[in-house]
Symmetry: C3
Subunit: 214 residues, 3 copies
């Protein structure tokens, strides 16, 4: 119960950070306020909705729980009205986004396990939960998803989901493995941002990887 | 039963208008005839398919009922063969598209309620039903969905879905709330087109909202 | 059982060819290695996942069976490390891709029939299984899906799915109809590549079908 309450809090904080990143991208792209809310909501809940569809948990939690929509609208409202605040929030939001990434990877994997699916499904859906929303944002904003092009983002989510699932298989206590997984993902993501780590990139035929149209 | 028959008729008329808009966009984009049919079908049924996946109504009605496919193919056929007719159809199609928008929002919300889901799910899926196809069209045609950028479109669908769901909660008779919701959405959409209403748009960092790549 | 084992082999061979095409496209677009694997996996399993969601077979087979992921990773690894091999593989991969197209169309239709759905659903989901992954690849790589613009690709899948479903309705023996459908689709696709057949394309308003942004 205690765990559940803690997860709920972190879940909503991560949701806000995700929604905020979506709202800022949508605003920069010149969308109207409805579009900003849609993108914010898509980033916040897109990954979870896809996970829930894949495990048969319908309707998806992102749609049934009004708090996700409320959080997405709050993030949009801040983005659209408080420009100065947005600048000041940039650093904390990066922090919460990294935390949200780890949390979504862990809870996504957990939910798949709770529904009785195997380890591979749990790891894959952990990653989908964590990065699905960001992919949806970039597809809707008509650009190649940034997580596929550079940065240690989805791979950090992968590490988190793998630790969670392995820990569950090895019989670690629930809170221990969750915190380990969350912190590993968070640290990996946060340090990669700070020290500009990137995954190796294969040069295309054009020699420059010029697909990056952002 | 009478209601059911009326809805079926409006449903197919709205489907035709939606499919027509998709077929015209696909033709203008230079797709081959197969691509035109796919886009027409995606606009007509995409929103409903997504709604049905989210409420667990599988296989989605858009796939099981041959009439939707037939209507999408008819709309494609008209678009590809009768150029003069297309021009003459432009105004009526705008009309039916607005009607279809209201109808899809209302029936989408109704179906979610019939499946026993809560008011938030019903409103969200009403909007998804109404605008999902248009979003799929724009994603497939590689542009930022127009409904996220300008015009009173998704917001009209939202008004329709909210009226339907509130009416149901307040115990209005079924046909009364359906017609109110349908007409409110239709009027809002149609008047916004006529008088060029737009939602406020937040200028991006580039000052011009230059994300609009259409 | 024998049929089952044969299908498993062809399924994995087709999966490799599909994954390979995705990995090459992703590499040419300059994605990092994680992005390459994601696109390879999306091409290989995207259509099947969408089919499984539509028929309620959750979690989708593409996620539960580790072999698909292993095959996608192997195809990515070949693409990223063995450039000379990629060039030499170009022709065989086209061959397997055409075979995979036919096989996916046939097995997709079969699975829908096995789940008790009607002929239309089976045909549509056969096509979705065969081409869904390629559409996902192009959407993620931010271009108009090539199958909607030119080439006899989805239409070959359609022919295969129709033969399979008609054969089942007409009571043909299972292996007979499967091989007929597979070979018809394969031949159509392969010959169309060799002789550069295209579906008719409707010129857009701009007279040049300039939507092709590839």
């Amino acid at each position: 119960m205690n765990d559940h309450r803690l997860f709920t809090f972190l879940d909503l904080a991560g949701t806000f950070a995700f929604a905020f990143s979506g709202a800022v991208a949508a605003r920069d792209r010149g969308l109207d306020w409805f579009g900003v809310i849609v993108i914010a909501f898509a980033v916040a809940c897109g990954g979870g909705v896809l996970r829930d569809l894949c495990i048969g948990a319908v309707p998806p939690a992102g749609l049934t729980d009004w708090r996700y929509l409320a959080v997405a609208m709050a993030a949009s409202w801040v983005t659209l009205t408080a420009r100065a605040l947005v600048v000041r929030l940039a650093h904390p939001v990066t922090l919460f986004d990294s935390l949200g990434l780890g949390l979504f990877a862990v809870t996504g994997a957990q939910k798949a396990l709770i529904f009785g699916h195997n380890a591979e499904v749990a790891v894959l859906l952990g990653v989908v939960t964590a990065v699905g929303g960001g992919v949806a944002r970039d597809v809707l904003l008509n650009r190649v998803p940034v997580i596929l092009r550079r940065e240690v983002y989805a791979s950090a989510a992968l590490v988190g989901a793998v630790i969670e699932v392995c820990g569950e298989r090895l019989g670690w206590v629930s809170s221990g493995r969750t915190w380990s997984a969350l912190m590993a993902c968070f640290a990996l993501r946060y340090l990669s941002l700070r020290y500009k780590w990137n995954l190796p990139r294969s040069l295309g035929h054009d020699g420059s990887g010029s697909g990056s149209d952002k």
